[in-house]
Symmetry: C2
Subunit: 315 residues, 2 copies
């Protein structure tokens, strides 16, 4: 009888993953779960595959002696790229699945802005009949930074409402919904005439601090920034200043340099700012387990896995 | 030289219409404007065409001796259907143009509900990091009452986000985005399993009070009602009770039996209710003037006009 392949699930919601995977009845697989890293555990030391969240995986890596493959349950795998961590295994990430939720998030905030949702809600609270006319997305200009699967899905959905879309990417990228793709050297031209700037960039050295005081001061006074990618892309102090001085019209922030956002952080009190607490597209076992299951079948069949991460690119 | 055709524009924003129409340089047309009805005015008594809002038009009708055609600037032409008013002229309305704005309105309120927008906004005000997961529109079931151009445009846009759509109409109607069309006798089957019920019905005797206590009690406890058509469709007292007793999950109301909503009306204080003050799709000269201009060209050319209202059907 062939040796069983050993999977350890390392996540705060490990049981939900376990249930989905056991139900899939994968051949030759033994499944163990843990909600925390125990470096003495035989399940960790003897596992062939790790499935879990990068915050736990990065602590587990040194102790997994037989490790061949790691499937991350998060799109953001930055903790696994830390200097000194081993890279002698196959790392697969999560792509494609967050696009629809991210598109709903972006559309929600575009529409609440155009339709003065909060202003009208406050009028209702005050008992005032508020007929101020709404805006429309039709004909507005939206720029998307980062044209991976999430950025392209946002473009597809938002273009369906008549929004004109331009993109920004480190290399030329095309997508039917995008009128033009700007390259890094064209950043200022890219942001100059936008009504909305949506950032969905991964956390890499090249993206850190990309949206700084200079970029913000190039944007229209009425423009709204939506950051739904990673917190590193944004100079938060510069943003708080730009909003307070009305150099831009508003910001919708799902991600931050430090999460949870510290109680003393100025963004809690910055005008025209909406905070959404990293809820744009939460990982859930329902969404992610099928990716592991698909990849396990590929693994068994000797096929190339989906969503392999390039350690050098960082995504 | 042929006699000039005389147009009188009767609307609170008559000048905006005048500007758009004068710019179009329509052949053989003399344009007069008024913000109110003056029954002695030669411009009214001698006009061939009236363009304006039905609240003013209905007062003007008896005095326009040469009247041949009336173009309404509102979709709701109920004031022109009052008993005793003349019907010896061609009445054209507004269709098609409100669909995109109405679709943005409906989508805005679907997404704010799924994503707990107001709950999260209150968390932000309270300085609380609120990670409660959002819902998704994908797979939700939405029913549309009224499958005219607005209902069909709402269906088209919302279906693009993976929402399953059923319709309700007085006659069989088909539309690619709609899974099934229910007829009046099937009203209770129609509403039974919906996550969202969107009403975009015209104001006619057949629609008055259609959404009553019995319909509301047939809906899911979690269902949300969105009324963006006319206020007559809804038994407002029954709705306020259903919301207070949590028989349905919420309501988003743009239109009311009496507008502005009286200060003492219970809906101001009803839980899980959003009021938007008849702003879903405001008429604007920018949106409406092109319809008159198109129809005037058809009028000159002896073609059939667009959006002719059938006085008997009422739309």
């Amino acid at each position: 009888m062939a040796r069983q392949t050993k999977l350890l699930i390392l996540a705060s919601d490990a049981e939900a993953y376990q249930q989905a995977i056991v139900e899939a009845d994968l051949p030759g697989l033994t499944v163990a779960v843990s909600g925390a890293v125990d470096k003495e555990s035989p399940a960790l030391q003897g596992c062939d595959i790790l499935l879990g969240s990068p915050d736990l995986l990065c602590q587990a890596l040194p102790h997994a002696r037989r490790l061949k493959w790691v499937q991350s349950t998060w799109a953001g795998i930055t903790p696994l790229l830390a200097a000194g961590l081993r890279r002698d295994y196959l790392l697969t990430g999560i792509k494609e699945v967050f696009g629809p939720l991210m598109a709903e998030y972006v559309l929600c905030h575009l529409l609440t802005h155009e339709r003065r949702f909060l202003q009208r809600y406050r009028s209702q609270q005050a008992g005032q009949w508020d007929e101020s006319p709404p805006g429309t997305l039709r004909g507005k200009r939206l720029g998307i930074m980062g044209l991976g699967s999430i950025g392209r899905e946002i473009a597809r959905v938002v273009a369906g409402l008549g929004v004109r879309i331009v993109g920004f990417s480190r290399s030329q990228s095309s997508c039917p919904a995008i009128e033009r793709c700007y390259l890094p050297a064209e950043l200022f031209d890219f942001v100059r005439n936008l009504d909305y700037l949506v950032a969905v960039l991964p956390d890499t050295p090249a993206t850190t601090g990309l949206i700084d005081a200079k970029v913000l001061s190039t944007m229209r006074n009425s423009a709204v920034l939506i950051n739904v990618g990673r917190g590193n892309v944004l100079d938060e102090a510069a943003l708080a200043r730009a909003l307070s001085e009305k150099k831009i019209g508003g910001a919708v922030l799902d991600v931050f340099a430090e999460e949870p956002l510290p109680a003393s952080h100025p963004l809690w009190q910055t005008p025209n700012t909406i905070l959404t607490f990293h809820t744009a597209a939460p990982s859930s076992a329902e969404l992610i387990a099928p990716i592991f299951i698909d990849n396990y079948h590929r693994w068994l069949g000797g096929e190339e896995l989906l969503n392999i991460v390039d350690f050098n690119r960082g995504y």
